[in-house]
Amino acid sequence: MQPIEEDLLHLLRSTNSRDTDRAFRILYEEQYPIVARYISSRSGQTQAADDLFQEGLIVLYKMARQGRLDHVKSIPQYLFTVCKHFWYRQQQQKGQTVAIEDQVTEIVENPTVLSHLFATERGQLIDKLLQQLGTDCKTLLIHFYYDRLSMKEILQKMHYNSEAALKNKKSKCMKKLRDLCEAIPQLRNLLN
């Protein structure tokens, strides 16, 4: 892995959101024009490229946090591959024929959850859930399960007295989340 790749991986895995934002900015500068040109050369709109690129960045972030980019030699190129897969999948969903040699049957990262996320109805439900969950619980659960931070790292960010207090809070937050999901019929489906 080249130094710039190590830097990017380091930034994507950082506990500081300013670092991850910096990685996103670097990738936008370096890779977005390439993705946009690729999609426009296949009669796609620039807006479509923008949406796909943003989804690609989110997938990249999650994979980096889960340690799934360790084997990847070039992060910008991997991002391009992810965006390309999203593009083909989208074209296939629209019923458009894709040349056989360009066909990719399955994406590395299943985007089903993401594609639902951007639907208005789902977005409203998530907003409602976030509102009822409260800022502390939301931040704690996202840091632990989504950003994959350790309890020690979260402790530095959230200013709890001890790891034990933080663990206790996490258990309460998980219970609250479960109760909220049970109470909102559309969200109950996510648990079944």
Partner: protein, 251 residues
């Protein structure tokens, strides 16, 4: 296992040692409550994933907005223009188009790579009887076509699969390209070129040329493309001719 929730979290976050994973999975087979708790935790994590996605999407959206506001590339938006401005706007658009036609910069090697790279189709078809190598080939085909390129490479370490069909040598190079290891890709593809493989020499030259583009070695890229371009009616002949012109513009 005194604190099952913590153990479940550690299991889901991939923090357990292989021995602990084995122990945990063994325990789950007999402990229904544990299996149920794991199942519930996974579902709640899916919900948290949605919350995290939404939060991250807002941050990424903000970065996208900043990027476009800097004026590098504007996203396409439909705008309703008032009729009074239409003629003036069309005139300006014509001037802008003329400017870009006269001053357009050639695509960079990186952009040429992106515009020309596409996966070579690997299909091995169905077979009635399978030996070990065929099973390996089926698995490699499945992973290749699902985009799991890093998982294909260990399967191709087997000498049996590489000698069974030389297309796997090509697939190896392409997987390395997809993973961004172009030096390794060039080495893998060179095997087919040196051996003048009857089926895959030309595809190997095409992908080698693309890898050289990515590595910024325009001379080597052009040398491979010249061979393809001189092969009348052959693999990617017309694309090679066009790509040579584009490479020349980069010099």
């Amino acid at each position: 296992m005194n604190q099952p929730q913590e153990y479940i979290d550690a299991y889901l976050r991939g923090e357990l040692s292989p021995e602990q994973v084995q122990e945990f999975e063994q325990e789950m087979k007999t402990n229904k409550e544990l299996a149920q708790a794991l199942n519930e935790r996974q579902k709640l994590m899916n919900v948290i994933d949605l919350l995290g996605d939404q939060q991250l999407q807002r941050r990424v959206g903000q970065i996208a907005k900043e990027y476009h506001e800097k004026g590098q590339t504007k996203p396409t938006r439909l705008r309703i223009m008032r009729s009074a401005w239409w003629v003036a706007a069309a005139g300006i658009a014509l001037l802008v188009c003329a400017y870009f036609l006269l001053n357009r910069t050639p695509p960079t090697p990186q952009e040429l790579y992106a515009a020309n790279f596409s996966l070579y189709p690997i299909e091995i078809g169905t077979r009635s009887e399978l030996n070990d190598t065929m099973r390996l080939e089926l698995e490699a085909e499945k992973r290749y076509n699902s985009g799991a390129f890093a998982e294909v490479l260990p399967l191709l370490d087997s000498a049996a699969i590489l000698t069974a069909d030389t297309k796997w040598q090509l697939a190896k190079g392409i997987c390395q390209m997809e993973l961004g290891d172009h030096q390794a890709a060039v080495r893998s593809l060179q095997v087919l070129i040196t051996e003048q493989d009857i089926l895959y020499e030309m595809p190997a030259r095409w992908y080698t040329a693309l890898s050289y583009l990515k590595l910024g070695d325009l001379d080597q890229a052009q040398a491979q493309l010249e061979v393809l371009a001189s092969n009348s009616g052959g693999f990617r002949q017309s694309e090679a001719v066009e790509l040579i012109e584009a490479v020349k513009q980069n010099r």
